[in-house]
């Protein structure tokens, strides 16, 4: 049970959150202009790194805000928390 620091509510149990998968995957501005391959990439293909991963979480049981987290997928260590729309922080 991770303790996830909600930028608004503070650290809360993982069970209060919904996972939203990879961060920074924008809905395409003009889906019609995409090839089938490009559209398939948007629909189904997500990074799946072993190590730091920028991902989305929603504090669904509380403030209902989406935010981004960089988490190490091996250790579950949360390396950074930042707001939606902010760029992925550069980690040392």
């Amino acid at each position: 049970m991770m303790l996830i620091p909600c930028p608004w509510c503070g650290p809360r149990e993982e069970a209060e959150f919904h996972y939203g998968g990879q961060a920074h995957v924008a809905y395409p501005s003009d889906p019609a202009a995409l090839s089938d391959e490009e559209w398939a990439r948007f629909l189904f293909f997500r990074d799946n790194p072993k190590g730091p991963f920028a991902e989305r979480w929603n504090h669904s049981a509380s403030c209902r805000r989406w935010f981004n987290v960089v988490r190490d997928t091996v250790t579950n260590e949360i390396l950074a928390v930042y707001k939606v729309g902010a760029p992925r922080p550069v980690l040392a």
Binding site: M1, D36, R41, F44, F45, N48, K50, T73, V74, N76
Partner: protein, 408 residues
């Protein structure tokens, strides 16, 4: 006095060599889990290709193969799935003899319980589809469920009462480690090199064709390379610049102490989320749900275990004072449609087998067979052709969770 497990057959005294890797092989298989080992075996046996190495980063079959709840069944909804899983089940039925290894394959039947009216519809749908596909399947009412597994609580005092279940009598369990060792021994005997503690760290590609792999034990040249790295497939494929529609999640399981026989079959419940069987020595083997997020830690969160136990006691009040001895986790590679990906890749002579998620143990012989065919011929076997990577582009998914079929 013969205690539990004392009647289990003895292992062979000899399993495998521990060869030094050669500089070059016709086929290099990345990942020495059940799938990799079965693939090597069928490459040698069915196709006469024996200059093969299976490269394993850790100890042989120490990935998901060492940690799955060993449920084997073929009662999947869609024709494509029924095809490959039923092929596997037929192979299971002759595997002990074929490998000359006691794999403890026990066709004790699998029950999938239904807890809502929609579960009932989905279950009947699956049973009917199974029958037409030649897969044995029955719909049982709660009374019949009780007859198959008397300790299931079919009374209405459960939060989600049992409204019935599907039953596949030919389904069952096998002893995971023995299966792996059986394939390993047989492959080794046919000349396949099983190389442990040899992690693939790079894929060498020239002009769109794979030529070899970089490993922690040096470079190994290869005519063909076949990925069988389960939870780590994204990591390995990325070495070839290939992105895959995979997410790797933690999945946990646990065992109890050894108990006198109480549980004659395998029971799975999607809605209440638990699956249970009693293994040969007497321990209850139980699986939980996946953690919602990606994870490569081979461990999961505790609340998942608590939920699993509360689900278990809903269905099996008799388990109350059983004890959990050990919990563990694996890394399962999940696709968007809960079906595997088996076939060719954009890189010549590089093959892909992944995405079995929570349910690929049962496919071990079947996928080994088909994947070996794919690698040997360069063309997908008809049974794995529907599971190509390009289905995500065309949209021709084989959506096993959408259709509420159960995983594992």
């Amino acid at each position: 006095m013969a205690g539990p497990g004392s009647d289990l057959p003895d292992h062979p005294d000899y399993l495998w060599r521990n060869p030094e890797p050669r500089r070059s092989y016709d086929v290099v298989i990345v990942g020495g889990g059940g799938h990799g080992l079965a693939t090597a075996y069928y490459l040698a046996k069915n196709h006469g290709i024996t200059n093969v190495a299976v490269l394993e980063r850790g100890w042989l079959a120490g990935g998901n193969m060492a940690r799955n709840t060993t449920i084997i069944r073929s009662n999947y909804l869609w024709d494509e799935s029924a095809g490959i899983y039923e092929h596997a089940l037929k192979l299971w039925e002759g595997l002990e003899e074929d490998l000359d290894y006691p794999i403890l394959f026990s066709q004790r039947g699998v029950l999938n319980l239904a807890h809502s009216l929609q579960d009932v519809r989905d279950s009947v749908r699956r049973v009917e589809a199974n029958r037409l596909n030649g897969v044995d399947a029955q719909w049982l009412d709660p009374q019949q469920v009780k007859e198959v597994c008397p300790i299931v609580n079919t009374s209405p005092d459960v939060r989600y009462p049992v409204l019935g279940g599907t039953y596949q009598p030919r389904a069952g369990i096998a002893k995971h480690d023995y299966v792996a060792w059986g394939f390993a021994r047989a492959a080794d005997a046919l000349g396949v090199d099983l190389i442990q503690h040899c992690e693939v760290t790079g894929l060498d590609i020239t002009d769109g064709k794979i030529t070899g792999v970089q490993t922690t034990r040096g470079r190994i040249a290869a005519g063909r390379v076949a990925l069988s790295a389960a939870g780590h497939t994204s990591v390995v494929a990325a070495m070839a610049g290939i992105d895959l529609p995979l997410q790797s999640h933690p999945l946990q399981a646990l065992v109890s102490e050894l108990l006198e026989p109480v549980h004659p079959t395998v029971v799975m419940s999607n809605a209440v989320h638990v699956y249970v069987s009693q293994a040969h020595k007497g321990e209850l083997v139980m699986g939980a749900g996946i953690d919602s997020y990606n994870g490569y830690g081979q461990r999961g969160a505790f609340h998942i275990i608590e939920r699993q136990m509360s689900a278990a006691l809903e269905l099996f009040p008799a388990f109350a004072r059983a004890h959990v001895l050990r919990t563990w986790g694996g890394i399962v590679d999940v696709t968007p449609d809960a079906s595997p990906i088996v076939g060719l890749t954009p890189v010549d002579d590089l093959y892909l087998n992944c995405g079995w998620g929570t349910g690929g143990f049962k496919a071990t012989p079947g996928v080994g067979w088909c994947y070996a065919h794919t690698i040997a011929t360069g063309e997908p076997h008809p049974l794995n052709a529907p599971f190509s990577l390009d289905r995500f582009t065309t949209g021709a998914l084989v959506d096993e969770h959408g259709a509420a079929a159960v995983a594992h």
